[in-house]
Point group: C2
Chain length 334, copies 2
């Protein structure tokens, strides 16, 4: 039976498909873990259990930058460079803005044409997440599935204007921020605090008349990064310049990532960071399901908006409203 | 019966005491809401219910800065300036570091001698919170109690190196960051992302040989602040210089706060912000109690460390561990 036809596979089919690197099976496995149906959740969790021993072998890279910074072109060119080294690359996107239209699949495939045609690349757009940290949760699990499918490098792409960057920082080994050269106002639109998370800044569109400005920006960002405290892993954030359009500077940036990886593995911080991230995920998963269970329960669904209104109008205060809702919830549970 | 003697007051005694502005009653009411005993929690919640209509009339100001920036001296001098205008001032401190020693009461009273002797000032050190956002939760409720007791201005002080600043930002009207002049490395030690939350930066210790450096730092910070996106409330963060020691520049900074307050009330953003903060608090309170209930349950207490170890060792993966713990928890609940 074709993997394309059947609605849901057996756990063995999913597992064998993912492990063989079959991109359709991988895609469907991700759909499974992204599902909000309890039944799918159950199966998805079991699948992750089964595949867990095959995960962890990729280099996880977060990439962020505001719209207009040339993120797609960068990922397309940078990704191709990585493919040329014989590596397999998966690109996962967290784009809160695309959740509304639901149309990001076509968009992503179109904007990364070259990658999407390569057998060694896998592109996956945003899941349609809820407001409860669900997107990050799903992305973590998708990342594990990609690892089990044998991908060596995983990009987790975000837009850099949302809430997702801290979550991404907590699930990747390396955090790359894309910026533009310009008149000092290039931070406009970047969410406050994101620059400080970066392990490296890549100044994109350093081509034509922009080259001098990019060099100047590089210096400025290097100075700015010095203002921030040193990272506990001993890595000093670097600034590179590149042109994704002209394919220049990309290998320097890739070298920089590899330098980071080598240094961090040498110092033991790479593993240390992964372990701490795992504990963090465990607690995040717990918090996620505690909230999900609460907000999905019929009593809460029925009353939440009413209570929010009452709080906004000053009829109830926050703690009072919270306690009443909680009382309701726990009473129904027991 | 003296308020000092009795172990626990009746709700009417607490209420009357707080509303009369009695600082001992206020202090004990705060102890009540800070308590981790379920019985106290119940009473504390009822007290807040009773007092809620008397809250909301203060100007809530978050003040943060690393140790060494002269925070105590600043609050002492700045606070005295505010008292001189006939206002009543409460200072609440969130200092995670002091939770370990438990000895912050004496410390706080000593380091703000002048304020602590004034009838119109009230100083309250950190509650001993848990790791679950409890400190912020308690501080919010303490703030409401201080408002009911008639305090016009409330400082919420944090150390600027912890996790508390975002929480504080979400409970105050104005966020003031204390900095030092220096050679560009003055951000050392400030938690990443804090500068971007500031409605104003006050460069302290601008006295003696430091004045020129402070003026230079002012310019640098003003430039740095321009790199960040505009606030949705239309306020452009300001930089001031002062010497708490020499009592200079403090009235300019106070004027700046009053300018902010006037502008924001005029634009309606002051109220808008308060309402949104209330909704935020409601959800935070819900999340807090969901987690608290989970981590306090006997099944979880018994097994958590074991599961964390298993995750660290790679014997279980994060999601698996989380789900097993949750299953356990919900089974025992129902």
């Amino acid at each position: 039976m074709s993997l394309r036809k059947k609605n849901r596979l057996s756990i063995e089919e999913y597992k064998a498909g993912v492990l063989s690197g079959d991109r359709i099976a991988l895609s469907r496995a991700i759909t499974l873990v992204e599902s909000t149906l309890d039944e799918d959740n159950e199966l998805g969790a079991r699948l992750i259990d089964e595949l867990f021993q095959y995960t962890g072998n990729s280099f996880r890279v977060g990439i962020t930058g505001v719209p207009g910074v040339g993120k797609s072109t960068f990922i397309e060119s940078f990704g191709s460079h990585i493919l040329d080294e014989g590596k397999k690359l998966a690109v996962l996107t967290i784009d809160p803005s695309s959740q509304k239209t639901g149309g990001s699949i076509l968009g992503d495939k179109t904007r990364m044409e070259k990658l999407s045609q390569s057998k060694n690349a896998f592109i996956r757009p945003s899941p349609s997440g809820d407001a409860l940290g669900g997107v990050a949760q799903k992305t973590r699990e998708s990342m594990l599935l990609c690892e089990a499918a044998g991908f060596d490098v995983i990009f987790v792409e975000t837009v850099g204007v949302g809430q997702s960057e801290t979550a991404v920082k907590n699930m990747v080994d390396f955090f790359l921020l894309l910026m533009l050269s310009g008149a000092g106002d290039e931070l406009q639109g970047i969410k406050k605090g994101i620059m400080e998370m970066a392990d490296a800044i890549a100044i994109n569109k350093a081509d034509g008349n922009n080259i001098e400005a990019a060099k100047k920006a590089k210096k400025e960002y290097q100075n700015a990064l010095h203002l921030f405290p040193a990272n506990e892993n001993g890595w000093i954030p670097k600034v590179g310049i590149c042109s994704a359009l002209e394919n220049s500077g990309l290998s320097d940036i890739w070298d920089l990532l590899k330098e980071f990886q080598a240094q961090q593995k040498e110092s033991g911080y790479f593993d240390h960071n992964r372990k701490e991230q795992s504990i963090h995920w465990m607690h995040q998963t717990i918090h996620h399901y505690l909230k999900r269970n609460f907000y999905k329960s019929p009593e809460i669904k029925e009353n939440l908006l009413k209570f929010e209104d009452a709080v906004r109008q000053g009829d109830k205060h926050s703690v009072q409203a919270a306690r009443l809702l909680l009382e309701n919830y726990f009473n129904k549970l027991s």
